[in-house]
Symmetry: C2
Subunit: 228 residues, 2 copies
C-alpha cells in the first residue's frame, strides 16, 4: 500500500526549491567543469555578483559550497580562484578512486542486480557516443561508468564521495588538451571489466580495475607534466 508513497518520496528532492546560493553554485559548477572557467581564474565577488544579479552575501555562500567540492579555493583576503590541480592531486584522486571502486567490486555478490545493470548501461552510453565521435559525451559517460562501479556497494556516502572525485577529475581533464585520445584506449578495458563483473569474477575484476586505474593515472599525470 505504501508503494505509491515511496515512489513519490523518491521524487521529493525535486520539488524542494533550491536556494539562490545553491543555484548560483550550480551555474558556476557547470562553467568550471565544462572548462569555460579556466583553472586559476579569479572569481571577483563584485563582478560575479553583478553578472549573476545576486548579492555578495549570496555569492559568498555559493563560494563556500564550491570550496567544499574543491572546485574553487578560498584564500583569505584574496578571494576565490578556480582550483588548479597539480599532478600529485590527480595521483591522489586515483588512489581514492581505487579504494571506492574496489569497494564496489567486492560488494558484487551481495548487491542488487540493478546496480550491475547500471554499469552495463553506462558502458553502452559511452560506446554509443564513441560510435558517433562525440568525445565530450564519452568522457562524461566514462565518469558515470566508474561511478556505477563504485555504486555497486550501494553506499550513499561512497556515491557522494565518487561524485565529488569525478567533478574534480573534470578539472584535470580540462587541463589536458586532447581529451579524445585520452578516453579511447580505456573504453576497451571498461568492456573487459564489465564482462568480468557480469560473470561474477570478483578477484579478476579487482585485478583488472587496479591495473586500469594505475595506467590511467600514469597517462593523465604524464599528459599534465608534459603538456604544461
Amino acid at each position: 500500500m505504501t508503494g505509491i508513497f515511496d515512489a513519490l518520496a523518491a521524487d521529493r528532492g525535486r520539488l524542494e526549491r533550491a536556494s539562490a546560493a545553491q543555484r548560483v553554485a550550480e551555474v558556476l559548477r557547470e562553467h568550471i567543469t565544462e572548462g569555460r572557467l579556466a583553472p586559476g581564474t579569479r572569481l571577483s565577488e563584485e563582478a560575479l555578483g553583478e553578472a549573476l544579479t545576486v548579492s555578495r552575501n549570496t555569492l559568498r555562500e555559493a563560494f563556500r559550497l564550491l570550496a567544499d567540492q574543491r572546485l574553487v579555493v578560498h584564500e583569505l583576503n584574496r578571494g576565490v580562484f578556480v582550483r588548479i590541480l597539480d599532478p600529485s592531486d590527480v595521483a591522489d584522486i586515483y588512489t581514492l578512486r581505487l579504494a571506492l571502486e574496489t569497494a564496489g567490486v567486492r560488494a558484487l555478490h551481495s548487491a542488487a542486480p540493478e546496480r550491475l545493470a547500471a554499469v552495463r548501461a553506462a558502458l553502452d552510453r559511452a560506446e554509443a557516443a564513441e560510435a558517433i565521435g562525440d568525445w565530450v559525451t564519452v568522457g562524461t559517460a566514462d565518469l558515470h561508468f566508474h561511478q556505477a562501479v563504485a555504486g555497486i556497494a550501494g553506499s550513499p556516502r561512497i556515491d557522494e564521495c565518487m561524485a565529488r572525485l569525478m567533478a574534480e577529475l573534470r578539472l584535470a581533464f580540462a587541463a589536458v588538451p586532447s581529451a579524445r585520445g585520452l578516453h579511447a584506449p580505456f573504453l576497451r578495458r571498461n568492456e573487459t571489466l564489465t564482462g568480468l563483473l557480469e560473470s561474477g569474477a570478483i578477484d579478476d575484476a579487482e585485478v583488472e580495475l587496479t591495473g586500469y586505474l594505475n595506467d590511467a593515472r600514469a597517462v593523465i599525470v604524464r599528459a599534465m607534466t608534459g603538456g604544461a
Copy 2:
C-alpha cells in the same frame, strides 16, 4: 640552498589566520562532537549570533561549513539543526570506513614506516587512557587509531574523508548512552590488528579488519535501535 625556504614553506599554513566563520564553525563543531549540543537541536541564527557575537551572515557561512561535514542539516526556510544519525547512516559510515581502512592496509608494503608507527602510537594512547579509566579519551584515541590505519595509504583525500567520517561517528556515539562498554571489547582487537600489520601480514590484517568493523557496526546499530 633552498632547504631553509622549503622548511619554512612547510609551516606556511600556520600563519594563515582563520576567518571568523571558520572559528565559529570550529567552536560549534567541538560542541557538537563533544555531545554538548544534542542531535536535533535547532541552531537559531539570531540566538547563536548573539551568543557568539557574530553577525547572521558570518554565522550562515559557518553553517555552510558544518553542513559540508554533515554535522548539521540545513532545511530551507526552517534553519539548521544538529544532525540526527539513524542506524542506516551508521551502517553506511562503516561501509565507507571499511573501504578506506582497507586501502590503508593494502598500501602497507609501499608505505613509509612512520605511518605504521603512528598506528602503534595511537594504540598506545588508547590503552593508556583505558588504564586510568578515561573512556572519553579512549573513544578519541580509538578514532585516531583508525584514522592512522587509513593513513597508511598516505593519501590526503583518504585522510580527509576519514576525518569527516570520524566526526560523524562521534555524533552516533553521543546518541549511545554508555560509551564505556562500547570501546572496551574492541581495544583487544586493535592490538591484534596492529600486530598483524607490524608483521606485514596484509591478508590476515584485512580479514581481521573486515570482521572487526562488521562487529562494531552491529554493536552500535543494536545500541541505537535498542536504546532509542
